[in-house]
């Protein structure tokens, strides 16, 4: 199969505008603007079954159709915040196949009748942002951005905006707050961005990978996209594979590929003579899966991963070998979430602090049996009481590790008791 997203691996120098155009670049945008009504564009994306690749898996065409046509102007914002530990796919797309991403953003903007689009990048993507600025300037020069595009009265401008080191700004309403010049703290939803978004105007927020799918969907039609993947999770997905594997990296595979194929066939298996112990399919926010045969043979699509007790999320697959204790693993995730809690609501702000504290005691061998239960109980109290999903995310690995790898935790308290 040739690539849909990582096309730069097939076509050298695809990040140059002339090469991109020689390979059919901007034909889809031209077709959309000159031959299709905005609703028809949305219709094709609906048919394709494309679901958001930022984590939540919400159907993209459906989201676009929610845009409020009684309130103007409209905006589209590309979510390039990519900060989930274990995720590095959007960066490769923007660095190596930038025009396909920007064309997708342009098509999305046309579909919802927006004339201004922003790319919100995490602050660390400083170089990527400068590179995209250069690409945008090239597009303006070549007539793919600006006024009267392709001889019509449609106009579009794209701007980049750099964040400054806050994971929470990946959450779409925090991102919009940040873009408005406020602290990046989530808004209460509803209202959702398609009715109340940037500057209170109807706004579509989509992940970089989601948008990068769009040009080929418009070029080949929604039905074509459904030839990849499964019935309920159509299409291809970028899997960011990291941790204890021989060949970590991004892999573009149809949704529904098994963990085993990703980790062993593509990722080259587990190095250093170790064996696989656990998998986190959605970065630090994952429910942790023990690497049983049942799990390894599970197809990675949104529905199947749920049946074995986790979520596909952003498909950042972290592999953990048998030399690591899960108490140490969740200590790492808890330091992350404690650092990244935006502090707006008490259960998350205080809860992440306390979980980290107990977990520190545990990994240092200073905890008792009762602390394991205390940790689990703090985690459970955060659930369902937080304003945004970060609060929930912070508890996933904790609760599932204690449930599924309790021995790792008990071993830590036993050493302490044995040593007196």
């Amino acid at each position: 199969m040739s690539y849909v997203l990582l096309r730069h691996r097939d076509i050298p120098n695809l990040k140059q505008l002339d090469v991109y155009v020689e390979n059919g670049g901007f034909q889809a945008f031209r077709k959309a603007v000159t031959e299709m009504q905005p609703d028809e564009v949305t219709g094709q994306v609906k048919i394709s079954g494309l679901r958001g690749r930022g984590g939540a898996g919400f159907p993209t065409g459906l989201k676009w159709s929610f845009i409020d046509n009684n309130n103007w102007p409209h905006y589209v914002v590309a979510n390039a915040d990519e900060s989930e530990p274990g995720t590095f796919k959007d960066r490769e797309l923007m660095e190596e196949n930038p025009y396909q991403f920007l064309e997708g953003l342009a098509i999305a903007s046309y579909a919802v009748k927006a004339h201004t689009a922003y790319v919100y990048l995490r602050g660390e993507f400083w170089q990527v942002a400068h590179f995209l600025d250069a690409c945008i300037a090239e597009m303006e020069k070549a007539g793919y951005l600006g006024d009267n595009l392709f001889g019509t009265d449609y106009s579009l401008r794209i701007y980049t905006h750099l964040g400054a080191g806050a994971y929470i700004c990946g959450e779409e309403t925090a991102l919009l707050e940040s873009l408005e010049g406020n602290r990046g703290q989530p808004r209460l939803r509803p209202p959702f961005p398609p009715s109340y978004g940037l500057y209170g105007k109807p706004t579509i927020v989509n992940n970089v990978e989601t948008l990068t799918n769009v040009p080929l969907i418009i070029e080949h039609g929604g039905e074509w996209y459904r030839t990849f993947g499964t019935e309920k999770s159509p299409g291809v997905k970028l899997f960011s594979l990291s941790g204890n594997v021989a060949k970590p990296g991004n892999y573009e595979l149809p949704l529904g590929t098994t963990f085993r194929e990703l980790i062993f066939t593509h990722g080259g298996g587990i190095p250093n003579g170790r064996s696989i112990k656990a998998i986190m399919p959605a970065g630090a926010s994952s429910s942790v899966l023990p690497a049983t045969d049942e799990v390894l043979d599970t197809p990675m699509d949104y529905e199947s991963v749920r049946t074995v007790g986790s979520d596909l999320g952003s498909a950042s697959v972290i592999v953990i070998d048998d030399s690591f204790g899960m108490d140490w693993v969740i200590n790492k995730t808890l330091h992350f979430f404690k650092h990244e809690s935006c502090g707006k609501c008490t259960p998350c702000r205080e809860g992440t602090y306390w979980m980290m504290n107990i977990s520190d005691r545990l990994t240092q061998g200073r905890a008792t049996q009762a602390d394991i239960d205390l940790l689990e109980s703090v985690a459970r109290q955060i659930r369902g009481k937080s304003l945004c999903a970060l609060g929930e995310f912070s508890t996933m690995a904790v609760v599932t590790s204690i449930e599924r790898f309790r021995d790792d935790f008990e071993a830590k308290t036993r050493t302490e008791e044995a040593e007196g």
Partner: protein, 174 residues
């Protein structure tokens, strides 16, 4: 006198042009980067200058600086070496790499070298997990990634930064 407007009139104009004229506040983050650039921290005067351009009070601008981790209220090293020790990197030896680097530089976690040039700190995932150990260098010139490192390779990078800083100083004196 607004230093940013005086020193970088075109840059300020370009930044403001990205946002609707009635939403100047959106420019606060890029303006803070502009203000921070030449000295790697934000001063009181910067807060006032940035606020004046985008219509915010000094306190409001300060709350932005306090919220985001890439802005600094305290001066640190000319270069900030930020090593990712988050889970995926740590599974590939990032903790040992970081400890080794601190030892070679003779600094504690979060410390600055005696010459005031280098601050080393641990940071969370930088979207480079497949190329661990890795670090980024933040300076007035922006942010650079360095990946697939060993302590030796990292020391070479730091040596390069030292030389660049010395050359820059010479140039400034000349």
């Amino acid at each position: 006198m607004n230093r940013l407007l005086a020193q970088y009139p075109q840059k300020v104009k370009d930044i403001l042009a990205k946002y609707p004229p009635e939403h100047k506040r959106s420019a606060v983050m890029p303006l803070l980067y502009l203000a921070q650039g030449d000295k790697m921290h934000i001063t009181r005067q910067d807060l006032v200058d940035v606020g004046e351009i985008c219509g915010m009070t000094e306190t409001e601008v300060e709350s932005i600086v306090g919220f985001y981790t890439l802005y600094y209220e305290e001066p640190g090293g000319k270069f900030r070496i930020q090593v990712c020790t988050d889970l995926p990197c740590a599974l590939r030896g990032a903790d040992e790499f970081y400890a080794g680097l601190c030892e070679r530089l003779g600094v504690e976690d979060g410390g600055t070298t005696d010459d005031g040039l280098i601050t080393v700190e641990q940071v969370k995932c930088l979207a480079a997990c497949h190329r661990a150990p890795m670090l980024q260098v933040q300076s007035g010139h922006g942010l650079d990634y360095h990946e697939n490192l060993t302590v030796d390779l990292a020391m070479e990078i730091i040596e390069g930064l030292r030389q660049a800083a010395q050359a820059e100083e010479k140039e400034a004196q000349a």
